[in-house]
């Protein structure tokens, strides 16, 4: 299913191909039967690993077989010494790498590698980053590899700044590296957040990015990467805070306020509520469990005589 070029074959070659495929089929069926015996009997041993290795070499998308290997390693974790474990896991990493060489876009392979890294003693994250560098050299748009890289960065001590530099190198080599721009878009808010809003980027960084992306589309105006990134950057700048809507519910004694820029609940607490000139003691809550919200709700005391009046004046003083 993966783009095989058409090649003319003679009848003889076709027959040879058929015989070879039949033979492969028989071997594969034999290995499968043996593997499922192991799986059913819950025998997690070297033999099982050997049999499943053969199957996965033929078809590295066979997730049931990868799961058998996963269970075997989980079993090993409770039965083997740390040294033996490390050796087994290292061998597994080599095996996965070989599978990936043949099938670099296999969901199962990359997923299993994540399992190994999370389960093995002393994972070498630096080495994994190098693996990512290697596979990105083969195909800089391999999103499986990029996703794995993000997994490695998340679990290791790699700084967002280092990753931003990495993407910078790739972009300088090739402005069309869409995947690099994407990776950058995820890192910038972490590395240089706007202190008022986590979705915004600090102004200094923003201006540097604008210059970078302008270089990109001046170099090649037809490059979509730069234009999409530029559009996104324009949305990252600072906007003025303002109240977009204030709703008062007399029966519920409740104020609901929506703001142009998101705020945290801590920031909300500095918002003052005055009713008919008198400051009210209120506690703001969010609409859901997100840390930064556009909307917040406050309850007012029911016994407040304000509710007897037909006209209320409220003014909010956000920080």
């Amino acid at each position: 299913m993966h783009g095989r070029l058409k090649v003319k074959t003679t009848a003889e070659q076709a027959e040879e191909k058929r015989k070879h495929r039949e033979k492969k089929l028989k071997l594969f069926q034999g290995a499968k039967a043996a593997a499922f015996k192991k799986i059913t009997a819950k025998e997690y041993d070297r033999e099982g690993l050997h049999i499943t290795q053969e199957i996965l070499t033929a078809n590295s998308d066979y997730y049931t077989i990868w799961n058998y290997r996963k269970n075997t390693f989980l079993h090993y974790k409770s039965t083997k010494s740390t040294e033996e474990l490390l050796e087994s896991f290292q061998a597994e990493l080599s095996f996965i790498q070989n599978c990936l060489k043949n099938n670099p876009k296999s969901y199962s392979c990359w997923n299993h590698r994540c399992f190994v890294l999370l389960t093995m003693p002393e994972p070498d994250w630096k080495k994994e980053l190098q693996l990512c560098n290697l596979f990105l050299q083969y195909d800089e748009r391999n999103f499986h590899c990029w996703d794995y890289r993000r997994f490695v960065v998340q679990h290791s001590a790699v700084l967002p700044g280092d990753e931003i530099n990495f993407t910078h190198k790739l972009i300088e080599n090739n402005f069309s590296n869409y995947s690099s721009w994407h990776h950058r878009s995820k890192l910038l808010p972490i590395q240089c957040p706007d202190l008022n809003d986590p979705n915004r980027i600090g102004e200094k960084m923003l201006l540097e990015e604008l210059e970078l992306v302008q270089n990109a589309f001046f170099t090649d105006p037809n490059d979509q990467s730069a234009w999409f990134y530029h559009r996104w950057l324009l949305g990252r700048g600072e906007t003025k805070q303002s109240i977009t809507c204030l709703h008062v519910s007399k029966p519920d004694s409740r104020l609901t306020c929506t703001l142009r820029k998101r705020v945290s609940l801590a920031q909300c607490s500095s918002m003052k509520v005055y009713v008919n000139g008198q400051q009210q003691n209120v506690t703001w809550t969010g609409v859901d469990d997100q840390k930064y919200q556009h909307a917040c709700i406050a309850s007012l005391l029911k016994s407040n005589s304000l509710w007897d009046t037909t006209r209320c004046q409220l003014s909010l003083h956000p920080r």
């Binding site: 783009g3 058409k6 059913t40 049931t64 269970n71 079993h75 999103f143 869409y178 999409f228």
Partner: protein
């Protein structure tokens, strides 16, 4: 457009299915679905004799795996699947004996149910409750779904499969729509389209899965703001060069004529597509000798691209192809059959309720 050759291409696939020819393919049922649905869209299901249709239905039902309900709420990871409640359509091609390690796969469940609908089956033999419980067991706390109970990656593809299964069984109670929607929204990228998960690069396939899932849950316009919808529309329509690509700066690929085309249909802007360029590209990948379509010109055709090629053309109402439902990825005719079944189930439910009310009274 080589209609007869495409019909022959798909019927040949169905003929070799039971003979375990494609042993290296662990997703036999999805291949069957491509062939069956392909024939449906070509309006050529009659190319399969009724006897064979019945055989295929029987084969699909042999793939239904039903586990026993586990009394405790703890599901062990290392287990014999017979002890676990979860089931659905299993990918194993074993027809004689039930494999002791049969594992259901969410994509097989979706394509299995879809195939039954296409063949006109009434889903009577589907254990709907167990099926939905099985889907429920695959949802993770972050809202996404894994594909199988044993463990797998979790991403947008499987949210889509879950939404399709719920739609086909007319029951969304088994899935947590709020967390699923949350996961989808977290997967929105800087360019306005969706990746496979939070942090992942936007992609035509995952964008389709996200749009279709939101649409199936009835949440597309309530979840995405008008601004977000505009940016999504812009990204999707930008995928067209001649045919469509799945990501900027990638080559056109036949299957995206469906994945992105259907997304545009769902978003309501399919009329902005350049039909002629799209058609020309898809036809350039057609194999005029054996039938079928490939991802690129001069490549061997395969089941997936053949089906997507046909659907890509069907979205444009070309070559007398049957209309395709863009959310479920089946013909409109199959979707109408599903709707009829839902109406029948609703009537049966009402009748049951009425009867039990009478019983409790007396």
């Amino acid at each position: 457009f080589e209609r007869k050759k495409h019909i022959r291409f798909f019927t040949r696939i169905l003929q070799i299915l039971p003979s375990r020819y494609a042993i290296l393919d662990t997703s036999r049922l999805t291949v069957a679905f491509f062939a069956l649905s392909g024939l449906g869209v070509l309006d050529a299901l009659d190319a399969i004799p009724d006897k064979d249709k019945q055989e295929i239905i029987e084969w699909i039902y042999t793939l239904q795996v039903v586990g026993n309900k586990a009394k405790s709420s703890a599901f062990n990871c290392v287990f014999n699947c017979r002890d676990i409640i979860y089931f659905s359509f299993c990918y194993t091609e074993s027809m004689e004996t039930t494999n002791n390690y049969d594992c259901s796969h969410i994509a097989m469940t979706y394509t299995g149910l879809a195939s039954l609908l296409i063949l006109g089956d009434d889903l009577r033999r589907v254990n709907k409750h167990a099926c939905l419980e099985g889907i429920k067991a695959l949802q993770l706390p972050d809202g996404s779904f894994k594909s199988s109970y044993d463990g797998s990656e979790n991403d947008m593809r499987f949210i889509y499969c879950a939404c399709c299964v719920c739609t086909m069984l007319d029951d969304f109670s088994a899935i947590n729509q709020a967390t699923a929607t949350n996961f989808i929204m977290k997967s929105l990228c800087h360019d306005g389209a969706f990746g496979q998960g939070p942090g992942h690069e936007s992609h035509g396939g995952s964008t389709y899965c996200a749009c279709a899932s939101l649409q199936l849950m009835g949440r597309l316009t309530t979840t995405l703001s008008p601004k977000q919808l505009k940016r999504l529309e812009y990204w999707c329509i930008s995928r067209q060069r001649n045919g469509f690509n799945g990501r900027p700066h990638k080559d056109d690929d036949t299957c995206y004529s469906f994945w992105v085309g259907a997304s545009l249909k769902i978003l309501g802007i399919f009329d902005l597509v350049d039909f002629k360029e799209n058609e020309n590209f898809v036809l350039s990948t057609q194999d005029i000798i054996v039938g079928g379509f490939a991802k690129w010109p001069q490549i061997n055709p395969d089941a997936l691209h053949s089906y997507m090629g046909v659907c890509g053309l069907a979205l444009m109402s070309l070559h007398s192809l049957q209309p395709v439902d863009p959310t479920l990825n089946i013909s409109e005719r199959a979707r109408l059959h599903m709707q009829t079944l839902h109406e029948q189930w609703a009537v049966a439910r009402k009748h049951k309720e009425a009867v039990s009310r009478v019983r409790t009274k007396s």
